[in-house]
């Protein structure tokens, strides 16, 4: 029997299903999602600004922001009432599975560039909740996970310092001295690079530095390994990062608390922690 004949005999549903297609709900506009409605501001120009972010429209975002700044709207308000609200909505749609990574990245790009416009008027960097430092483990060239974390942190109102890929422990010590972060995130894809994490902890201890927590995650990283040394907490999803940072900032949690209260902090079922 020929390949074509064989192909035509198969009822694919008896072999594999495409649950993503099967279960797709009706298309709705992002601004009509009920959680987004709760987040979006009602007043102009903030509503329009937030919507440009929600629609991932960098050019429109910059244009409206510039126009609003020209009209004397406070750059701080534009950031907090407009751009950040839009980004909040994007994060919510991503965690709900309605938005995808490219939405998040493009909205993030639009937000970051718009913030820069505001800062130009402000004359200095805008205020953030606090600073977080992010790195990829020494020897590891994979940084998409880290870039995702950066985006979530920035969307969550944090100053996120990007130390890049393949970062030696010494550079992290320097960064802690310089930025005094409330949280560090490290990612690794390989077992032989995740061993960089305890070395970072050691280097910090040697330098007499302490950080409330170092979130360690990524492909090869296992919870039992991360919990075999101090200062660390095993991070499961990139979007958990700002929630962990919030817990440190607002509730004064440290790495011991984060390990114990992870599920409560990220507020969802996490098999690794239950």
């Amino acid at each position: 029997m020929s390949y074509e004949d064989l192909e035509n005999r198969i009822n694919q549903r008896n072999v594999f299903l495409r649950y993503n297609v099967e279960l797709e709900g009706p298309a709705i506009k992002p601004e009509e999602d009920e959680d987004v409605v709760d987040i979006l501001p009602n007043d102009e120009p903030f509503k329009s600004i937030a919507l440009t972010i929600l629609h991932e429209n960098r050019d429109d975002a910059i244009n409206i922001v510039k126009k609003s700044l020209d009209e004397g709207v406070s750059p701080i308000d534009i950031i907090n009432e407009g751009l950040m609200k839009g980004m909040d909505a994007v994060s919510v749609l991503y965690t709900k599975g309605i938005y995808f990574l490219p939405d998040l990245m493009l909205a993030g790009d639009a937000m970051m560039e718009s913030v820069k416009e505001c800062e130009a008027v402000l004359g200095h960097k805008s205020e953030t909740k606090a600073t977080v430092v992010s790195f990829v483990a020494e020897g590891d060239p994979h940084d998409i996970g880290k870039n995702l974390i950066l985006m979530f942190l920035r969307a969550g109102g944090y100053e996120a310092i990007d130390l890049g890929r393949d970062v030696p422990a010494a550079d992290i010590v320097e960064a802690v001295k310089e930025y005094n972060p409330i949280f560090i995130t490290g990612t690794a894809l390989m077992t032989t690079t995740m061993t960089a994490f305890p070395k970072v902890v050691e280097a910090l201890q040697k330098a007499g530095l302490e950080v409330p927590a170092i979130g360690c995650g990524g492909g090869a990283v296992r919870k039992d390994f991360v919990e075999s040394f101090p200062m660390s907490v095993y991070g499961v999803e990139a979007y958990h990062t700002p929630k962990l940072a919030d817990a440190i900032l607002k509730d004064k949690k440290d790495w011991k608390d984060l390990r114990k209260e992870y599920v409560d902090i990220v507020d969802e079922f996490v098999p690794e922690y239950s």
């Binding site: 008896n14 594999f16 299903l17 649950y19 279960l23 492909g219 239950s274």
Partner: protein, 461 residues
């Protein structure tokens, strides 16, 4: 009890993966053996989770969650989660109850959300103690086993199985010493007696709760021989003797079906193709996707006529590719998908034959389980179907004949050790009495003296 004295399959060529004479229906929509192969995933609780009920329940939930999530993520139409309980669970039937409950809840959640067909096979541990005066059939431990089975059935398990261990002390003695008589007594007589005792009870419990009595496996006996036989370089058990033990195991595992077990028979019963040939019930099997648990020499062949395809067992932990429930369900799921594609395109029998011929002449153990030979052993069993001893003996003799024919045809090559142990085993088996009573009396005398753990009273002998 109905003994099988006829084959349900009339021709070995009728046998094919995904197809059983008597499919088993779970809930509304999963039918096992009704034209497709279903993957089965079995994950052992991680170390430390045995410390408390809370940890074990959470571990059970996590395993069910991971498996379900991956199943949907890769588009499996159906899967079975097997949970083999550890002794702490069976020792505490309330653990069993709670673990079963959370697993069924998780599986049903995914069924409701995605329409994926799911089922839970719960397998309490046989924690009974065969030692002298232990009350194998009537002790606290025995009661715990029965209570745990009821806890599974009453808490929603779709299928209940168990790996009973009757006769293990005697068969272990025989396997370690290359003594075919002890193996036959341990598997064919004591094993079969214990199966009958246990399975009559299990089937009654299952009926009460509308739960499927799945079936048993000669794991504790024939698999001990197989694991000791090991690979080509291993020196612990002759592979020919392991093949004979397997044939005897079929005569024993058949008893569960005779007591009312409906299948799918349990994955690690490598004798299942023989039992399927006789009874027509669906079976589970394991092979090349059970490398996580053990190495066998028939990893493809075991897929040939199975209805459910399993990974045997793996520790619960993380790999690069995900947690082990995810990784190994994907492994069995992808093989099941290949079989289902073969069924869909009417190439099932070709794939069956490829699976079989890949391994058929690699090892005597594989040879006797090739579906044509499995069928022959089935015929030998039903010829003496009414007598557990005689049918186990007939199965072993037929297995020996199959091996010898293949050697004569220059298709199978044996080492000296395999050749010698086969010759000597066949000689011994042929000389045995043709009356069960005589054989049993003789064995009781011989082995109660030699084997510290063997107590005839345990079997009311």
């Amino acid at each position: 009890m109905k003994r099988f004295t006829q084959m349900e399959y009339k021709d070995p060529d009728e046998m094919l993966f995904g197809h059983a004479k008597f499919p088993v229906k779970i809930r509304e929509n999963m039918e096992i053996g009704d034209g497709y192969v279903i993957p089965e995933i079995n994950v052992a609780p991680g170390e430390g989770t045995e410390e408390s009920k809370e940890k074990m329940v959470s571990e059970s939930r996590n395993i069910a969650h991971s498996a379900s999530e991956r199943a949907v993520n890769i588009g499996l139409p159906a899967f079975i989660l097997e949970q083999e309980h550890i002794s702490q669970q069976t020792n505490n039937p309330d653990w069993t109850a709670e673990c079963t409950k959370v697993q069924i809840e998780m599986l049903e959640k995914y069924y409701d959300e995605y329409g994926i067909k799911t089922a839970l096979r719960a397998t309490p541990a046989d924690i009974r103690d065969e030692e002298k005066d232990s009350g194998f059939w009537d002790s606290d431990l025995f009661n715990k086993v029965i209570e745990s089975i009821e806890a599974c059935a009453s808490n929603g398990a779709s299928i209940v199985s168990i790996e009973t261990t009757g006769g293990k002390s005697v068969s272990d003695y025989g396997i370690a010493r290359g003594d075919p008589k002890a193996i036959l007594f341990g598997i064919g007589v004591l094993g079969s007696m214990d199966m009958e005792y246990m399975w009559n009870k299990i089937v009654l419990i299952c009926k009460k709760y509308d739960c499927i009595p799945g079936g048993d496996t000669d794991c504790s006996q024939a698999n001990t021989a197989m694991f000791l036989a090991g690979g080509l370089l291993d020196k612990d058990c002759s592979h020919t003797l392991a093949a004979l033990a397997r044939a005897m195991g079929a005569a024993r595992s058949l008893v569960a079906v005779e007591c009312g077990a409906m299948g799918p028979l349990k994955d690690c019963g490598y004798e299942n193709p023989i039992v399927k040939a006789i009874t027509g019930v669906p079976i589970s099997a394991e092979g090349k996707n059970a490398v996580c648990a053990h190495s066998d020499l028939m990893g493809n062949l075991m897929a040939a006529v199975t209805d459910v395809w399993s990974n045997e067992s793996v520790y619960h932990r993380e790999e690069m590719g995900g947690t082990t429930p995810e990784v190994w369900l994907q492994a069995t799921g992808y093989e099941a998908a290949l079989m289902n594609t073969a069924i869909e395109t009417d190439n099932g029998k070709i794939l069956r034959d490829l699976y079989t011929l890949t391994d058929k002449y690699r090892d005597p153990q594989a040879l006797v389980l090739a579906y044509d030979n499995a069928y022959r052993i089935g015929q030998a069993i039903v010829e003496y179907g009414d007598d557990p001893y005689l049918r186990a003996r007939a199965a072993a003799l037929e297995a020996g004949a199959i091996i010898n024919e293949a050697v004569d045809a220059k298709k199978m090559y044996l080492t000296r050790f395999e050749r010698d142990s086969l010759d000597s085993a066949l000689k011994t088996l042929e000389k045995l009495p043709t009356e069960s009573d005589k054989f049993i009396k003789d064995c009781i005398r011989r082995y109660s003296r030699k084997i510290a753990d063997f107590d005839p009273k345990n079997y009311e002998l």
